[in-house]
């Protein structure tokens, strides 16, 4: 590390932005996420013919032509990983957004409405939560086959109940606050109370929860792809890349290590960032 990074320049001191309070690990995590995000955005527009066969041997080690070696068909591993990034991140991200939106809306509704509606939503989602996440996804895939939209749906269904629980328990507390009672007395409707009175007060924990769900979704989808039940060939996410190239293990090839490390860097980076978010809790870590 250069001294410039250790001694903050005058400009950064004056401009106290939101990053100031972050630990070094958190900033590192943010950088890694930004890197993979950029790769995911750029990958679809790269002029390289993805999945192109070459005359290279299979499971070659790291070389100048192939920075991360070659896979089980002699394809360049770096190209495969870059091509897999949009699937890996995209599917998990969309699923997380759906799960958290759905969970937040239902959680807020349950807290504000109370009564039978609260009971019905809570009981139903409690049932889903008492099926281990991998079992639930396997059962859904067994019933409907595997495709990218279905995988998004699977991860969304699996992670909605957890998000619902957190949002509901936070919202129930805020719902009892005086200003919400006042808003109610003023004659405000439910959507207004949910959106304007309660949501701004739970935005921090919701964001932290979203990050946590994203890590879970990444893990789940990678595991499903690893079992051969996730993203189907010729498409490949990082999980399927590990599965395809398991044969490289005995020769110690980079083909299996590279996608595995890609997953590890991304999940660990997101976890580091969450630890720096305001209002993050460890409370939900024990499920899944």
């Amino acid at each position: 590390m250069s001294t410039a990074a250790l001694v903050p320049s005058a400009a950064t001191v004056r401009k106290r932005n939101w990053l100031t309070h972050w630990s070094l690990a958190g900033k590192l995590g943010l950088a890694v996420i930004a890197f993979w995000g950029a790769v995911a955005l750029v990958a679809p527009f790269l002029p390289v013919a993805l999945g192109e066969m070459s005359d290279a041997g299979v499971f070659e080690g790291v070389s100048v032509q192939h920075w991360l070696g070659t896979d089980y068909l002699g394809r360049d591993m770096l190209v495969r990983i870059v091509a897999g990034t949009p699937y890996t991140i995209g599917v998990a991200l969309v699923a997380t957004l759906i799960a958290c939106t759905l969970g937040a809306v239902l959680g807020l509704l349950a807290a504000v409405a109370g009564g039978w509606l609260d009971q019905a939503i809570s009981r139903f989602l409690d049932t889903l939560i008492s099926i281990p996440s991998k079992m639930l996804s396997l059962v859904i895939i067994a019933g409907f086959g595997s495709s990218v939209p279905l995988l998004i749906a699977v991860a969304a269904i699996v992670y909605t109940p957890g998000c619902f629980r957190i949002i509901r328990s936070l919202a129930v507390n805020i719902n009892a606050m005086d200003y919400v009672v006042v808003a109610r007395a003023r004659g405000e409707r439910r959507p207004y109370i949910m959106r304007r009175e309660i949501l701004p007060n739970i935005a921090g924990p919701l964001l932290a929860d979203m990050g946590l769900r994203f890590v879970y979704a990444l893990r789940l989808l990678a595991s499903l792809s690893f079992l051969g039940l996730g993203v189907q060939p010729p498409m490949a996410d990082w999980g399927s890349l590990v599965r395809e190239n398991l044969g490289a293990l005995p020769v110690g090839g980079a083909a299996v290590l590279a996608p595995a490390l890609a997953i590890a860097t991304l999940t660990i980076a997101v976890t580091l960032v969450i630890d720096n978010l305001p209002g993050h809790t460890d409370a939900d870590r024990e499920t899944h």
Binding site: M135, V139, S223, L227, G252
Partner: protein
């Protein structure tokens, strides 16, 4: 044991059975009702209406979904979950041949993981803030947030490929002699165990720290008790409830982890049976395996709950 505890525990058991029933309805709906007509799918596009009707009758699909559900539930409870669609073999037989292997793997992993996790968890709570504590917590965070197959892959790479201590992905798991068993068990138990140890360690550490910051521990320290005495005789007895709770909850990870581990190591257990059944879309087998896993999961959660209740001194001395 008093009546309050008994009542609470009985309540939890009833609630657990209720959850299991609800879960069975969800599982049946996803696998048996929502995907549409299984007979149509089996015969394909060229099916004539007559053959379709005949097959529906044979498969029992001409009855309503509710009747089929109760029929299926009855079969599940009496130990006859039907026949495999792919092999025609009774599901009960397939499960019976695989379940003991999975239970053995789970038992060995538990026997190895629980003492290790408790020991490390208590030590890192004692020396919190030290290098040891920071190292363990960094490692556990890393292990917890990466997928299980990654841990397994790395274990194979290190112990089988680089160090050559153990066989790599064994294609024939032999459980006949103790030596063979040790060799084929080592890597699956190591990979499965590390995930569970990481979980359990975090929770144990939190439970013990929670006690160590309590005022009565301060008092014990002021009276001049040694560190070991403080922890072993004062803090631990009070932390046993939360720890038992943590152990039971962490063990429920076995259920998720075992799927990946059995597949990667080609272990002839029930989780691999289920993954194969999902690949072949063999519904009766999928349903039976899922219900076994869900029952196991609910039992562990129930044990965690009961430990929490029984260990609560306010409930015990009423």
């Amino acid at each position: 044991m008093n009546s309050t505890i008994l009542r609470l525990v009985a309540g939890r058991i009833v609630a657990g059975l209720g959850s299991l029933l609800a879960v069975s309805a969800v599982v049946f709906a996803i696998t048996g009702v929502l995907p549409g007509d299984a007979a149509q799918e089996k015969l394909g596009q060229e099916a004539t209406p007559e053959t379709l009707a005949a097959l529906r009758k044979e498969m029992g699909l001409d009855r309503s979904a509710v009747v089929r559900y109760f029929d299926w539930l009855g079969g599940m409870v009496t130990g006859d979950p039907g026949k495999s669609v792919v092999t025609g073999m009774p599901v009960a037989e397939a499960v019976k041949s695989r379940l003991p292997n999975s239970l053995l793997l789970a038992a060995v992993t538990t026997a190895f993981a629980v003492p290790l996790a408790l020991g490390l968890g208590i030590l890192s709570a004692l020396w919190r803030g030290s290098t040891f504590d920071r190292m363990t917590s960094m490692t556990t965070v890393a292990v917890v947030c990466v997928p299980e197959f990654l841990v397994a892959t790395l274990a194979v790479l290190v112990f089988a490929v680089q160090l050559k201590w153990l066989p790599a992905l064994s294609y024939e798991t032999s459980l006949s002699s103790p030596g063979e068993m040790l060799r084929s068990f080592a890597l699956p138990v190591l990979s499965l165990g590390s995930v569970i140890v990481a979980q359990m360690l975090r929770m144990t550490r939190a439970a013990v720290i929670d006690q160590l910051t309590a005022p009565y521990i301060e008092m014990v320290r002021l009276k001049g008790a040694s560190a070991a005495r403080t922890v072993l005789f004062h803090a631990l007895p009070n932390a046993i409830g939360p720890i038992a709770n943590a152990v039971a909850l962490s063990l429920s990870y076995l259920l998720g982890g075992v799927i990946i581990i059995e597949v990667i190591f080609n272990y002839p257990g029930i989780a691999r049976l289920m993954v194969d059944a999902v690949t072949q879309r063999d519904m009766p087998l999928v349903q039976a395996c899922t219900m076994i896993f869900c029952a196991g999961y609910l039992i562990l959660v129930l044990i965690a709950d009961v430990c929490g209740i029984v260990a609560n001194p306010r409930l015990r001395h009423q």
